[in-house]
Amino acid sequence: MQQCPFCKGENNLVGGPCPRCGRRLTEKLDMRYEGTIRRSQQYNRTLIDKVWRFFSSVRNGMYILLLTLLATAVGTILPQRAYIPIGRLPGEFYAAEYGVFGRWYHYLGLDQLYSSWWYMTLLGLLGASILIASIDRFFPLRRALRMQPVKRREHFLRSQLYVRHSVIDDRERLMKNLRARRYRIRQDGDDYLAEKNRFARWGPYVNHVGLLLVLLGAFLRLFPFFYQDEFIWIRDGETVVVPDTNQSLFIKNEQFIVDTYDTDDPKFKAAIEQEGRMIPKNFTTDITVFEAEDHIAGDTPDLKPLKQMQVAVNHPVHAAGFTIYQSGYQLHEFSSLTLRTENQDGSTADFRVDTENPQAMYELDNGLHAELIDYYPDYRLEEGKVITETKYPRNPAFVFDIEGNDDHKERLFVAIDDVVSETGTNRYSIRAVDYDTHHVSGLSVKRDLTLPIFLLGGVIFMIGLMQGLYWQHRRIWLRRQADGSYLIAGHTNKHASSFEREVERLLDGYKKGGSS
């Protein structure tokens, strides 16, 4: 048994054509790397040789690639942890929503697959394979293609895929036709070598460089110098410091605007009805970016306005080395709640609780004191317990101890739509009577120095891809025989059938006397 060098199938017929791909077994040369020896085939002694040999194999590279492919696909079976509803605990969420499978999915860490050590390792192995397999082939191939003699041995020519004998009367004319097909011709005595699109051979190496740049960019993102990612919520009119900027960068939200589509617009009426809710048209925040003047830590810094601008979805802005994106919003967050207490004699008193800075104690006109015991900015009941889902006042609830002058104390839970007495007696009561709201704009503030690397990687990859896939390296050797006729051999690195058509047309067109 022997292996067919073309289709890699097992072959019984030594000397005959391969039963699978039909090509002759012993006669054709493997021209893939011009038959040159690669480092991985030369050395296999030390550990480095063995590692090199492993990664230089395209077969192993394909195994790594297919493993990566499978792992990547597995990560989409259930939503990744980043996409589960805010406030749900992953351990509880996966089991509750997806049963036993979900529990295992979470237990095996597949809910964070793309940042898991083994997925990173797979990508690293893929990178190593791309790098080593390319180096292993690039240098021998370059050497072979650089030092191409025009005169080749008869055996070499006869071992090419395209072989033909012909009498050439008017060599000049044939050369002219070849040049018209963009072949470059070298001559050595009476022998010729016509070659074109050699650069296509470098396509794979160029695109692999692009891919390695992309992987490098991904690696550099792990360092804060290259990649900083901050998120701030700013209320209308508020000024907020951007975290991790050494208290030097402040952003003020001048105004946050939400537009929705007109429900009466005849064009979109049907679609909006189908959707069943208002469809947003535009989110925009007018911001001012401030830079802090030199100041001593702890002091309130003097702010110097740097730039005034408008951030909208799809229209990020640049300031102070950062890019600012409109990336979230919260409508009608509660800025304050007005609560009304009632004493047992029926006298009432109102007081306002600021959701941002609630006071610890409120002295009321009707002789009551309200002491704030607990504050849940965004409360929700879960299994009978009160929890807060976020730290933003989207659904605030308070627990007050209300005390009259007679030392009687009652503990009351109050939210916008709910009051619960926790002590049982109810001499006093409390309820929400009014509220103020504001909009909050969520801005993502990023500094990403890896973006140019990714973009460059992408561009280089595309160039390499087109270079390698849209052009073919083609060579035609003409060797003069003793009887004055020519042995013509051709090689192309892919798309053999169209190459054969081209050569046929060249030679036949030449014979008929026409130019191709």
Binding site: C7, K8, R20, C21, R32, V58, R59, G61, M62, L65, L66, T68, L69, T72, A73, G75, T76, P79, Q80, A82, Y83, G99, Y114, Y261, D265, P266, K267, F268, A270, A271, I272, Q274, E275, I279, P280, K281, N282, F283, A312, V313, N314, H315, P316, Y325, S327, S444, K446, L451, F454, L455, G458, F461, M462, L465, M466, L469, Y470, K494, H495, S497
Partner: protein, 385 residues
């Protein structure tokens, strides 16, 4: 303005009918000996249909004010249009009516399915308001369409090569695959018929009620009342959004597919693969293999550019990150990795012919999975959910 929308709808119908006529004519010319005028006529009808669809696309764009590639209906019709475009261009080089038939059948099914999704002109949410919407979507669709050609010829190659004389595993796989394709046709037929007669069934559940467009054989496990006499509760673990309804549609489509399959088998009295084989045998198999490889070689860079690079540039602008492991993104990456493997295996390991053809079939399944299943089964950020 209102008229534009109506005219554009009619143009799509005209295109659909032209494609149907085109498929019949191409099949006819494939079955007969080479008849130039018939082929030309088929080509002309298909090209006319494509122009009508281009008219649909343009008018809808003018009417809605944005490129009509923003929901599943619009994207799928556009993908169908790209398939036909690639077919028309390719037909200038390779005049094989059977490839045209395969491509047209798939396009017709895709456009037919598209019509079953909501067709209203929808306004764009802020994150979609970008020129990148049509740059990214059109390039990605074109890349996928070119890659699909490798499936058309790959499938024909497999039909060509399979031994239909014996009970053979491959022959059965082919029949299974045909049943799947017929099920899609069954779905389009069923949905079309029931919609024509205005059928709806309101199934009331404990918490919410669902409106079925097909007879509700399978209903959620908490169903209170259903207007249909047969009610089969779906198992408890099927509880995604409208899971019971989707399950119902799937089973009915498969049943319809099986019925269609049986009808064809009774009519032809042999396996469909065997019935098609004499036609396919006329094609030169080396040319099929060659076209398949070329379509991947041409389509892969276009796909990379549209579905990954343009997508990432836009995602960086709209969502402040160029990559976020959203299911649609991930499956574009899976598709890309797969075709990268295809090219390496073919060039380095010399997998040609039948093995390459099977890879092309798997590749097309991945593209279809990303087109439909990711939207219908997996919830993601992309608009076509």
């Amino acid at each position: 303005m209102e008229n534009l929308s109506i005219i554009s709808g009619h143009l799509l119908e005209a295109a659909f009918i032209s494609y149907l006529v085109g498929v019949i004519l191409f099949t006819w010319s494939a079955a007969k000996k080479r008849q130039r005028y018939l082929e030309r006529f088929a080509f002309g009808i298909t090209a006319a249909g494509w122009l009508a669809q281009l008219g649909f696309f343009t008018l809808r764009w003018i009417y809605s004010g944005h490129a009509p590639v923003s929901n599943l209906f619009e994207f799928m019709t556009f993908f169908g249009m790209m398939l036909i475009l690639v077919l028309l261009i390719m037909y200038r080089f390779y005049r094989f009516p059977l490839i045209a038939v395969t491509a047209l059948v798939i396009s017709i099914l895709i456009i037919g399915c598209a019509a079953m999704f909501p067709r209203e002109v929808a306004p764009l949410v802020p994150s979609l308001q970008s020129h990148w919407l049509y740059i990214h979507v059109t390039t990605a669709a074109l890349g996928e369409a070119v890659l699909s050609v490798s499936f058309f010829v790959g499938f024909l190659y497999i039909l060509h090569e399979t031994n239909q004389e014996k009970q053979h595993k491959t022959a059965r796989v082919i029949e299974g695959f045909l049943v799947l394709i017929l099920s899609v046709a069954g779905y389009v037929l069923l949905a079309f018929l029931f919609r024509m007669f205005g059928y709806t069934a309101n199934v009331t559940g404990a918490e919410a009620s669902i409106i079925y467009q097909l007879p509700p054989f399978f209903v959620p496990s908490d169903t209170v009342s259903s207007p249909f006499p047969i009610q089969i509760m779906v198992p408890d673990w099927l509880r995604g959004e409208n899971a019971a309804q989707k399950f119902n549609t799937m089973i009915l489509s498969l049943l319809a597919g099986c019925v269609l399959y049986m009808l064809i088998r009774i009519f032809t009295r042999k396996r469909i693969g065997a019935a098609l084989q004499p036609l396919v045998r006329k094609l030169p198999k080396n040319a099929l293999d060659d076209i398949g490889y070329r379509s991947v070689a041409v389509g892969f860079p276009i796909f990379t550019l549209g579905a990954l690079i343009f997508a990432m540039i836009w995602a960086q602008q709209a969502w402040d990150r160029f990559w976020g492991w959203d299911p649609k993104e991930v499956w574009a990456l899976v598709t890309w990795l797969f075709y990268a493997a295809y090219l390496h295996i073919r060039m380095q390991k010399g997998w040609q012919g039948i093995r390459s053809a099977w890879l092309a079939v798997i590749g097309f399944c991945i593209i279809m999975f990303n087109l439909l299943a990711v939207n219908l089964l997996i919830v993601g950020l992309h608009a076509y959910a």
